[in-house]
Symmetry: C2
Subunit: 418 residues, 2 copies
Amino acid sequence: MTEKTMRPSTYAIIEPEEASKLIYENVAQVGVEEISLLEGNGRILAEDIYAIGDMPPFDTTAVDGYALLWEDGIETRLIIGERTAGKVSDVTVVAGTAVRIMTGAPLPSGANSVIMVEDTSEDNKKLIVRKLPQASDNIRPTGQDLQAGQLVLKAGITLNAAELGLIATVNRPRFQAVRRPRIAIISTGDEIVEPGEVAAYGQIYDSNRFSLVAAVRNAGAEAVSLGIAPDTREGLKNLVERALAEYDGLVTSGGVSVGKLDLVKDLLEEMGTIHFGRVNLKPGKPLTFVTVEVDGKRKPVFGLPGFPVSSLVSFELFVRPALLKMGGFAELSRPVLQVRTEHVIKHSPERNEFVRAIVTSHYDPETSNYWYSARTTGAQTSSRLLSMLGANALLKLVPGSNEIAEGSIVSAILIEQI
Amino acid sequence: MTEKTMRPSTYAIIEPEEASKLIYENVAQVGVEEISLLEGNGRILAEDIYAIGDMPPFDTTAVDGYALLWEDGIETRLIIGERTAGKVSDVTVVAGTAVRIMTGAPLPSGANSVIMVEDTSEDNKKLIVRKLPQASDNIRPTGQDLQAGQLVLKAGITLNAAELGLIATVNRPRFQAVRRPRIAIISTGDEIVEPGEVAAYGQIYDSNRFSLVAAVRNAGAEAVSLGIAPDTREGLKNLVERALAEYDGLVTSGGVSVGKLDLVKDLLEEMGTIHFGRVNLKPGKPLTFVTVEVDGKRKPVFGLPGFPVSSLVSFELFVRPALLKMGGFAELSRPVLQVRTEHVIKHSPERNEFVRAIVTSHYDPETSNYWYSARTTGAQTSSRLLSMLGANALLKLVPGSNEIAEGSIVSAILIEQI
């Protein structure tokens, strides 16, 4: 055991806004890669996508029915052929004739209207028409949906079902997307034990790493768990170096407090640039942000506090936006609602406190307006992970007083759907 | 080419509510499996999780500092030892003494208060105290966060960062979760071509399958693309049989319209029970729902229309809730908001029309109320996938009139975040 005297942190405490700015300025999009249509869900498009041709590429029918001349009116026609979508027979519609046509098939030449099968009957190759056809009825003209050369999707959008359908429509089986950041996750602390092993007296089970793997994935990144860091400076250094060599960034939990045996901050100080080491935040004050140059790349390390709630709340506020930026997402922020407090909330008079809460929506049918209320999730201790359960928002309570009255309006950062 | 006469569909048209009910009654949760903590994100818990012991398991400190007796007041103490979280030395605090203690370490016997390092200084094994300690300061008593035997998480909840942290905390490296439904996806139609190949005249590129793979994944299920179905009854039958033997359900697109060459409905009629074959819906009228008994299991087949928007809208309204139910999700519905239309909207006077729209929120700081407005995404043709782009809602327009006035209040189903 070292006999170094235990001393408080000497890092300046910065405001949350300053911390966000420093992180934003020091992380960058990780790069692009070619992917296939089946891999595209949730990815960020990294090139503009244009229509190569018109869509539909030919005049076609929107319904199953008969292609005919509207000028023939309601008179009975002779059925002279059939067109399905995939089998295109060469047939021309002339006065007094009609061609059976299936949805999506090219319109036969000559035809200028399509009548729905529901408005007809067939009798021995004769078509009986029960509704007066109009010019262009049920015809989808060439290029109605997309025109050749048209910009269909802009680089930077998030790909979902409709966007992927459009990329397929314009015949792009592979395309450029932003690579998902690959983030290593390490837990530190000689008191934590892998779940499944046996905790000795003084030990507890590691939980932060499993929470953080989920949180990283929910920020569109790949999460790789590197386990619990060894208890020695040398072992920790080797693991951190390997993580930074192989991955785009590193998230640690624990080891950033003021204790004399908290190795992480010391090590990171030696390896890279500490942009900040404390934030005026509750929970999450010891949050540390470091960048390390590795092979010419600046890689971020987020040192999160060890208490489970401190770890998750500081991840939510600071690491999530960073990972989204690295992954090319345009929108880095969660939605914020102004909500009315359902009860008195005690809070820190000195620090920006982020309180876990349940926001409920209320609708007034007379005015068609909505308002939102919020109640906290019980005891807000940093260690009490139960306070995150069911929470769909973090209420931001600014320093000044030490409580806010029932019915006050505060900002709620929505972390889940209401 | 068959010479079977083309005839309209004979399936009764049912209302959307009836269709939802029939689907709900005929799909069931697919079963459970054991998974690990690292696989848990987004999964549905399938067992109750209890605390095996107290958390914290011993009296501990919430801060780095010194364990001492509060009754000694502000007098200087002799430092007699040190406790880190993982290395527990056997030391007892008595009057006039203090023990260095790191966050999370068990409280040494005798101590009844912990003073933060920030409120102290050390001088040659002497501890100088600059703040009067109070009883129990900074002590986290045994069981403060969780008590042995306590129900921590109930079966049925969705697992996210906090929930997974709690499962780790109570030392459950593996646990029961609902299995993700495995859903096969097939496109049909002899006019569609795989992206990357060359479309002949009359052909277009398959897009629905790629959209549906994304949509199935977004409903918490596994999606397996089985390609474009062969153009023959025998080939289609073999593919559908294989899909139903290997997967929990099947989604097809195309082949459910009224055309005489639409093989899918005919085949499904032969293989299973058609619960409905048409819905009073725009877009999506030909939506078909079938169940087939395979090895004693009832497996759902959703026959979606071929037009891209019809396919995606009917998926959203009917297939998504079914997959969520199969996957064990408690909440099957999207949030619905009452919104004010920004302009006149023409719609079908006969069918329930679901119009793609962009909902915007408006905040009134005077009343702290919100209201929401909606505008459509342009031409609402069933083929025009662009009408899905940027849409965050589907407006439900009920039959009756053929337009709704600007400023009307309508229901908006939120399919994306506002």
